[in-house]
Amino acid sequence: MSNGINALVLCGYGLNCDIETAHALELAGANARRVHINSVIDGSVNLADFQLMAFVGGFSWGDDHGAGVIQAVRMKKNAGDKILKFVADGNLVMGICNGFQTIVNLGLLPGFDGNYQDRSVALTFNDCGNFRDDWVHLQINEETPCVFTRGVSRIELPIRHGEGKFVAADSVLSRLIRENQVVCRYARADGSPADGGFPDNPNGSMHDIAGICDPTGRIFGLMPHPEAFNHPTNHPDWPQTKERTGRGEATAPGFPVTGIRMFENALNYFQ
């Protein structure tokens, strides 16, 4: 059931969440196409044919020189203008995990004052000193212009990264907060702020920031993986929930909110 929206999912050079991101977009109703980075660079695939571009998770170029750094350098150098035009044309960009790291290094985020080339925020090594796979609670800022999170106030998603600590200068942070560009923050199970506490805030991100958007809300980056919550059985509590539901207990409110909701929101933007 396609709604005519074409989504480009980057792949190649060590990216590794392309298949499930394409699947999630398809579930949400898009025509998703996995496209090699080099096909964007050499123009054999034209960005103008797409309305959404997903920078996905993985270890691009091995992430040896800072996560997403070389991907951003290569894309900026070889396809920077195309990407800027894609953004200027009113399309959507999503950066998940390594994709978030990349679009931050490209400067697509935070995109203050329409400047999509400045690096002013960063994602650096987790304070815990290691790669970590865990599920986190996210509190969504309901005032944000972000189109991907409309109607969602809380969500649980997996994180899987070694460099997810969100860092920026105080002035940048306060502007992000003030202008509601902070889309989601790590929270405790009850929804209260994680307040830097490990493992609710799994990486030591400043202000518990897990994801931000640009001022238009059309560019969204986050460390957690919505595409990895594409089925109720992805959620770690599904066996307990299934058992409770089977015994006639009402399902916990809001469960399951799968990660697909974010992709559906993106497609609905074009309706």
Binding site: N16, F59, D64, V73, D134
Partner: protein, 996 residues
């Protein structure tokens, strides 16, 4: 001129790596390190024009938000500075990606000899630290001298202008490649040369090799193309192919087995044929889901009508023992090439691990190359980077601590892939090479790395093991290649594909050329990391991340174009022929010309004497041990034993959810911290079918009898699958043996005959159990020589042999993932059922081990009764009446009652008098490790329905789930354990809970 760029985090930012070093220095060595700041160093060894270095610095390597950098040494404060860089020729993955980035940004091409070398500088503060302390930190935490070089600077020695200096670990071989002809005038000469060149030829093979090269017809053939006696290339080829690692000589050997108790003898001709191949072939007839076994790089089973799954296992013990990180990452990245090289190629969907090391807190006198703690740290990190960077979820694993692994550690790795049933209308599980097909090598380049790795792992570890076989896997290069090859497969461009693992091209080309019956390889075309390699080195090098592919001549251009799109290096290095010859040339000159059938015939079978003595006759007996009274403390202490305790810190470092199909994760329960019995995933996201996967290892039972070690291990792996809802009619197995040397030598291996008997018994049990459970062995692996020579306190050395070890993997397919269950108890009020029967089987149990005993009553598998229970449980889970299910494994009933209570964070009230059992003492009931047992919880209203499925002798309701979060165990009217669940959990997490 080289440029040295230093990069570090801004001083106000937390340095997590530095903090980790501080913590380890304190915890491991009690050293007062106050702070560590890390500096990355890039030594760019190429000429750049003015302005370019600054572009490189600002546009690529410095994050303006987080980092500062400089081409002069960064002026960081320290008391000591330690520099660590790679030795020449060691794989430097970040160096390679740096070259890519610099070339792109500057629009330049690096000349042949130019490169980027990465290294690290650690600025350590701690005014109390002495040089020896810092050297210890450098040696034990920051480097491994096999692959790295280190320099230590005190504050006063540091020249703030020169810094570390310019260190360029470029490989300079300065050698002209030469083919050497080897004289074979006598067996002694060939033996001597074999020793000198580290060929590790078996003495019995030498006459066969000589007679081949002396045969007149062969000599006449060779004369025509200008060869006489064998060349070094040829002998290396034969040596690789005949090594135990490649040829499995031990498993194909002849065993004369004597039972010394009864005097009975029998002969087993070929363990592999008798106990693995024959049973598997007979089961294949019964199981239509077995698609392809026993010939390819991995076994293939049916997932559904349009997809097959692919599975295999490997070990990487010797290299990991030398260089834990490099060995382990090479191991996991290596095993991932097997499914990729199975049939026409499969996509990797899952990996798992098994680590066996000495005690993490070992404080004894033996001095292994790497302390077990450090070894384990390195292994964990290697598998972490290898798995995570490959984008393949690592969903399962075991860690076992035992003194026997001090001699050599074990690193098991297992890989699962998925392939379409058809590729462009052709069956995807089949492949062949045809005359005229091109031989294409894809992926990495060839260097000296890994040369003689195969022969080294076929020998006991000693000081003389060549360090050259230590490598560092490169998951990035391989991931690119993986994506490329799957696209090439789907375009129908691949005729044959196999990986370059042990033996390198020698084995991948040698084996693939058997199908067409010949090949011609132009060795000079093989792309090299650096010049100066001899022809034989190119031929046998084990440089990683390479696949060998057969492509039709007319498809080569399309194949190469795809390769270029994916930024993968591919090179036509020869063609397949039907000449009956393996023909290698270098610059047009023949350097090897060998009959293709040489390796198939004429070599003598290895022979072993195997002598068995029963445990009773070896003096094993049950301990004289009275019943304890403080069960609460005993249970908590057992939970804190390293082999039982939580190892969450490892599991969380492993991405176990990438690819988005995770259903049952390795950690389950509301607190997501309990070990799942098995894992379940959806490899095809659009479907609700799932793959169930589990593994088990119980090497401790080998101390009594490897027969029961084997059958109990298989039973546990099966039970784990059944516990989550796996189908007893679809269980594929993978056997992965790691055994100490079984070659008897009165001085060096006096108990070799006993270990050989253990192997025969283990293989018999394997066949016996697999036939009973109907498990075709989809794949398998054996690694012998798990022994080491360790220096002791007084300059003496000790031979340390591992327990006879088997890791067994089970895999199955379930039609509906939502029918699966987890081990955590779900609801207060649920009934707790015990399935199976408990016997006095505490031999080699965790309980006995806790007191230092072995005992003799080893746990025994009773297939017939067990299978009935497994089928009934499968039915019960299918009916949806099971809320939780968990096998009773190592540690016995009490430990696993604790596990399910901790799993649900709920209490249990259980009466063990109701447990179906022989008449047993309470401690025996609680800690016996009888296999075949489960704990299951069921909603009260489903109790009758559940019970109706089981033999009442094998099923009893023993209590219920409570909402008090206390584990209450009584026997009849006598309560004897009452422990709050949080206390159990803190005991269980005590040993490793502080690790991240």
């Amino acid at each position: 001129m080289a440029h040295r760029l230093e990069i570090t985090l801004k001083p106000e930012l937390f340095d997590a790596e530095g903090e980790g070093i501080c913590k380890k220095a304190a915890a491991y060595f009690n050293l007062p390190v106050e702070g560590v700041r890390t500096v990355q160093v890039l030594t760019i060894d190429t000429d750049l024009s003015p302005g370019q270095p600054e572009i490189v610095r600002t546009e690529i390597f410095t994050n303006p938000v987080t980092q500062i950098s400089s081409y002069d040494p960064l002026p960081l404060e320290f008391d000591w500075c330690v520099w660590v860089g790679y030795r020449p020729g060691v794989r430097d993955n970040p160096g390679s990606t740096a070259v890519e980035a610099i070339q792109d940004v500057l629009e330049i091409q690096f000349p042949e000899d130019a490169d980027v070398y990465t290294s690290r500088r650690y600025c350590i503060t701690g005014p109390e630290l002495a040089r020896a302390d810092v050297e210890l930190i450098a040696q034990e935490l920051l480097s491994n001298d096999i692959i790295q070089q280190v320099r230590v600077f005190s504050k006063s020695e540091w020249d703030p202008k020169a810094g570390i200096g310019l260190i360029i670990p470029r490989v300079h071989l300065n050698h002209t490649p030469t083919v050497t002809t080897i004289p074979i005038d006598s067996d002694e000469t060939l033996k001597r040369i074999s020793d000198e060149r580290n060929l590790a030829l078996n003495v019995n093979d030498i006459p066969v090799i000589r007679s081949y090269f002396m045969e007149p017809a062969v000599r006449a053939d060779r004369k025509q193309i200008g060869l006489s006696d064998p060349t070094d290339v040829e002998l290396e080829y034969i040596s690789q192919a005949r090594s135990d690692h490649c040829n499995h000589n031990t498993f194909q050997g002849l065993f004369r087995y004597t039972d010394l108790d009864t005097g009975q003898n029998d002969v087993v001709d070929n363990l592999f044929d008798t106990f693995i191949k024959q049973p598997t072939l007979s089961l294949k007839k019964k199981k239509d889901w077995v698609v392809s076994v026993l010939w390819d790089n991995a076994g293939v089973g049916r997932f559904d009508d349009t997809h097959y799954y692919v599975i295999t296992g490997e070990t990487h013990n010797s290299p990991s023992n030398m260089e834990a990180y490099g060995g382990a990452i090479t191991g996991i990245v290596g095993v991932y090439r097997d499914p990729l090289g199975t049939g026409l190629g499969s996509r990797l969907v899952m990996g798992s691990y098994g680590f066996c090391v000495g005690p993490r807190d070992y404080k004894g006198d033996l001095k292994p190359r790497l302390h077990p703690r450090r070894l384990l740290d390195g292994i964990i990190e290697g598998v972490r980077d290898g798995g995570n960077k490959s984008g393949i979820p690592t969903t399962f694993g075991q860690v076992i601590f035992d003194d026997g692994y001090m001699g050599k550690c074990l690193v098991y790795v297992t890989a699962v892939g998925i392939m379409p049933a058809k590729v462009v209308e052709k069956p995807a599980e089949l492949k062949t090479t045809n005359p005229g097909d091109r031989v294409i090598m894809c992926g990495g380049r060839v260097g000296k790395d890994g040369i003689h790795g195969v022969t080294a792992s076929s020998e006991t570890f000693s000081e003389h093991t060549p360090a050259g076989h230590v490598q560092i896997g490169d998951p990035y290069t391989q991931k690119k290649m993986h994506d490329f090859l799957l696209e090439a497969r789907d375009a129908g461009l691949i005729q044959f594909i196999t990986d370059n693992g042990g033996g390198g091209l020698s084995s991948s080309v040698g084996e693939s050329a058997r199908y067409s019956n010949g090949c011609e390889v132009w060795i000079d075309r093989v792309p090299l990391k650096y010049s100066g390699l001899d022809q034989w080195e190119i031929w046998v090098s084990e440089s990683q991340e390479r696949m060998t592919v057969a492509v039709k001549a007319e498809d080569v251009d399309r194949f190469m174009a795809l390769s270029e799109k994916h930024a993968v290096e591919s090179t036509v290095i020869g063609k397949y022929t039907d000449s009956g010859k393996l023909h290698l040339t270098y610059d047009g000159h023949t350097c090897a010309y060998v009959n293709m059938d040489l390796l198939q015939s004429g070599f003598p079978q290895w022979e072993f004497d195997a002598e068995w003595r029963s445990p009773e006759h070896r003096g094993l007996h049950e301990p004289v041990l009275d019943e304890p009274s403080d069960y609460r403390r005993l249970l908590c202490d057992l939970l804190s034993r390293p082999n039982i305790a939580s190892k969450e810190w490892i599991i969380r470092q492993y991405d176990h959810e990438v690819q988005g199909g995770s259903v049952i994760k390795p950690l389950v329960g509301p607190e997501r911290d309990m070990n799942s019995d098995a894992t379940v995933l959806r490899p095809v996201l659009s479907e609700k079918r799932g793959v169930v996967f589990a593994q088990a290892m119980l090497p401790m039972y080998s101390a009594i009898d490897a027969w029961h070690m084997t059958s109990c291990t298989i039973d546990e792996a099966v039970r784990r699958m059944i516990a989550v809802g796996g189908d007893p009619d679809h269980i594929g197995g993978v056997d992965n043996f790691c055994w100490p040397s079984i070659q008897y030598d009165p001085k060096k291996n006096p108990d070799g005959k006993f270990k050989a008997a253990q192997l025969v018994r283990s293989c018999r049990a394997l066949a016996d159990t697999c036939l009973a459970y109907e498990i075709p062995l989809l794949s398998g692996k054996d690694s012998m020589y798990v022994d080491g020579q360790l220096p002791g306190r007084y300059g003496e050395t000790h031979k340390v042999s591992a327990l006879e070890s088997l890791q067994f993997s089970t895999i199955g397919v379930i039609p509906d993932i939502e029918q699966t269950v987890t081990m955590d108890v779900k609801m207060p009020g649920d009934l707790v059922y015990f399935l199976g029967r408990t016997r006095n089987e505490l031999g080699a149990s965790e309980y006995y081990e806790h007191f230092g005993y072995t005992g003799s009553n080893v746990p025994t598998v009773r297939h017939e009764a067990f299978i009935k229970t497994y089928r009934a449980l499968y039915q019960a889970i299918g009916r949806g009446v099971v809320a939780s299910a968990h096998g009773i494994y190592r540690g016995g009933l009490a430990v696993h009652l604790a596990m399910i209570a901790m799993g649900g964070n709920l209490g249990l009230a259980v009466d063990i008098a109701k447990v179906p059992a022989e008449s047993l003492r309470t401690d025996h009931l609680l800690f016996s490790e009888t296999p075949g047992r489960f704990l299951v919880t069921v909603a009260p209203e489903n109790g009758m329905d559940f019970e109706s499925l089981f033999d009442p002798e094998q099923c009893a309701c023993i209590g219920k789930v409570t909402d008090t979060a206390v584990l209450d165990v009584c026997r009849g009217l006598k309560p004897f354990i009452s422990v709050p669940v949080p206390d159990l959990k803190s005991a269980w997490k005590k040993p490793f809970g502080g690790l991240v």
